[in-house]
């Protein structure tokens, strides 16, 4: 069984985001970069499936500039068997990312692709769904539980109305939600071991993928800050104020 896992490098979740003064983007210079948290969950789930279903191979895949190797080494230290970096200096939007993953899924003959449900930078929540469409395979998005039964996956999905359960035939695409698992910590000996694991670099231009239509990001702005209101002296004053504002009937 072969499992592909998407690893996207993003601005670390703890960084306070600043929009550049000229509105051309978000400050990313000198800030801490990490693996997208949902992707760490994706990798953890792949490793757990491998532990139950040997022989299985977990391949970590990233798209980005050359130094994304650093995040892929972290993925290898967590336990991925090997890694592939699709190298490009350009920002890659979801439809293009889906085309790249589709190409790799075919080349690798993957049984399962696990991706984060969204990246915490662009918050698009599209790539897994788009990959499943292009690959013409099932998708199980926002997974909070995954159970492998022979050639079928039973996936519990976090939907607005509760928990939805669905069965999908492999090969399939799964995207992860927060509650699926808690990713393991990387141990020192594993970091050493990861240095000798295979990491292949492919130039995006060499994959022969047609550029996908994309959105033009015109400008960026900081959100309008919320200004605090006032404190009231009593519960009565609060209820009156809420009724006056039409918030309570």
């Amino acid at each position: 069984m072969k499992i592909l896992v998407g690893i996207k490098r993003v601005v670390d979740y703890s960084v306070r985001i600043q929009v550049k003064k000229d509105g051309s983007g978000v400050e990313t210079g000198g800030v801490k970069l990490s693996i997208n948290p949902f992707d760490e969950i994706a990798l953890e789930e792949a490793l757990r499936i491998r532990e139950k279903r040997m022989p299985a191979e977990v391949v970590a895949v990233s798209i980005g500039p050359g130094d994304v190797q650093q995040q892929l080494r972290t993925a290898l230290a967590m336990g991925a068997d090997r890694a592939i970096l699709v190298e490009t200096a350009e920002a890659v939007q979801p439809l293009m990312a889906a085309r790249i993953f589709h190409e790799l899924a075919k080349r690798e003959n993957a049984d399962l692709v696990i991706l984060g449900k969204q990246a915490i930078d662009d918050d698009c929540n599209q790539t897994g769904q788009m990959l499943a469409a292009l690959w013409d395979r099932p998708q199980a998005t926002f997974a909070s539980a995954v159970e492998l039964k022979d050639k079928t996956l039973r996936v519990t999905r976090e939907v607005d109305a509760g928990l939805e359960v669905m069965d999908v035939d492999l090969p399939a695409v799964v995207t992860t939600d927060l509650r699926l698992n808690t990713p393991r910590f990387v141990k020192m000996p594993d970091i050493m071991k990861a240095k000798s694991k295979p990491l292949a670099t492919l130039k995006l231009a060499e994959l022969g993928i047609a550029p996908a239509p994309a959105l033009e990001y015109v400008s960026y702005a900081a959100p309008v800050p919320r200004s605090g209101g006032h404190k009231l002296e009593s519960v009565q004053a609060l209820v009156k104020e809420l009724r006056d504002r039409g918030v309570l009937s």
């Binding site: 979740y13 985001i17 929009v19 978000v26 439809l95 915490i120 930078d121 918050d123 698009c124 929540n125 599209q126 790539t127 769904q129 499943a132 469409a133 292009l134 013409d136 099932p138 998708q139 199980a140 926002f142 039973r154 999905r157 976090e158 939907v159 607005d160 109305a161 928990l163 359960v165 669905m166 069965d167 999908v168 399939a172 927060l178 509650r179 996908a212 239509p213 994309a214 959105l215 033009e216 990001y217 015109v218 400008s219 960026y220 702005a221 900081a222 959100p223 919320r226 605090g228 209101g229 404190k231 009231l232 519960v235 609060l238 209820v239 104020e241 809420l242 504002r245 918030v247 309570l248």
Partner: protein, 314 residues
């Protein structure tokens, strides 16, 4: 002129209110607005959709395969229908987020996620970095604009319309590789935290799992969902699906009452689009008061029962 198709979200019988919010976004784009209802039957849903003001036509695509909201089944039908439209919109709920990107990819189009504002028919504002920045994006005009609509940013289109309902067949091969099993609904009758119009949340200040009863009580009085800060979840007062904030749920109810929550940045990120925020906290210097519209300083165990009493006077 734009021709806009809005994908209805429903449970087979009732139209989900997020659909009316997506219609509002369609009205901001301007043009003819149709609603597509994919269902096994869907007659009642179509009638509700036809009542939304501004809608020209409701398309009823009824076939047994459309019984459950499976993206792999609905997306090929949406992609096929999209050829007659300039825009296809769906609410940015788990339903819309699941199905629309699949349809967009089949139509070889990019998608605009979480539209919060329409600048012109092809230019939109959307939040990135959990709402800590707002991007203005321009979508290509061809083949069609696919977009999900951030429901918290739009007020539901009112009723009072009388659109026609048309039965439509969409000829496409549908896959059998994806099978719906069941929906496990939350056992409580409380509204869903993600979509509730009122939310009462408790934080570390509530003190214990047992004490959280006061939060549930007030929530029930208001018909509100219950949420919690990360501190309350980490302390084990409530399960983690109630967590509101950057790493939990990002919500935008009409009324948000934060009880015993100090207001860490990660929590504020999850609530800053709420229409009215009320903070109840013992510490008058707590950061939550910097974002709250209305605040009460005092002991929550005294103020909450008082608040319930006052609400009863209604």
């Amino acid at each position: 002129m734009s021709k806009i198709l809005v994908i209805a979200e429903h449970d087979g019988t009732n139209l989900n209110s997020s659909t009316a919010r997506a219609v509002s976004c369609a009205l901001a784009i301007g043009g003819d607005i149709d609603i597509a209802v994919f269902a096994a039957d869907g007659k009642a849903v179509c009638e509700a959709a036809a009542r939304l003001k501004g809608v020209k036509q409701v398309l009823r695509i009824a076939r047994p395969e459309n019984q459950a909201p499976l993206a792999a089944v609905l997306a090929p039908q949406i992609a096929k229908l999209s050829s007659g439209y300039s825009h296809v919109l769906a609410p940015s709920t788990t339903f819309g987020k699941d199905v629309l990107p699949r349809a967009a990819a089949l139509a070889a189009a990019p998608q605009v996620s979480d539209v919060m504002k329409v600048m012109d028919p092809h230019t939109f504002q959307r939040p990135i970095y959990a709402g800590n920045a707002i991007a203005t994006v321009k979508a290509p005009t061809q083949p069609c604009v696919f977009a999900t609509v951030r429901t918290a940013s739009w007020i539901a289109a009112p009723e009072g319309g009388s659109a026609s309902v048309t039965d439509q067949t969409v000829e496409t091969a549908l896959p059998s590789h994806s099978r719906y099993v069941e929906l496990k609904k939350d056992s409580s009758d409380r509204p869903d935290l993600q979509s509730a119009s009122r939310v009462v949340s408790g934080g570390r200040g509530v003190g214990s799992k047992e004490n959280f009863a006061v939060i549930y009580k007030l929530a029930d009085k208001l018909g509100a969902a219950v949420g919690a800060s990360r501190a309350a979840v980490d302390a084990g007062f409530v399960p983690n699906d109630l967590q509101v904030g950057q790493t939990g749920k990002i919500i935008a109810p009409d009324l948000y009452i934060a009880v015993g929550i100090s207001g860490a940045i990660q929590h504020i990120t999850g609530i800053k689009d709420a229409r009215t925020i009320v903070a109840i906290n013992r510490d008058g210097d707590a950061p939550i008061f910097q974002v709250a519209d209305l605040g009460l300083v005092g002991d929550l165990f005294q103020l909450l029962p008082e608040l319930e009493q006052e609400l009863d006077k209604g």
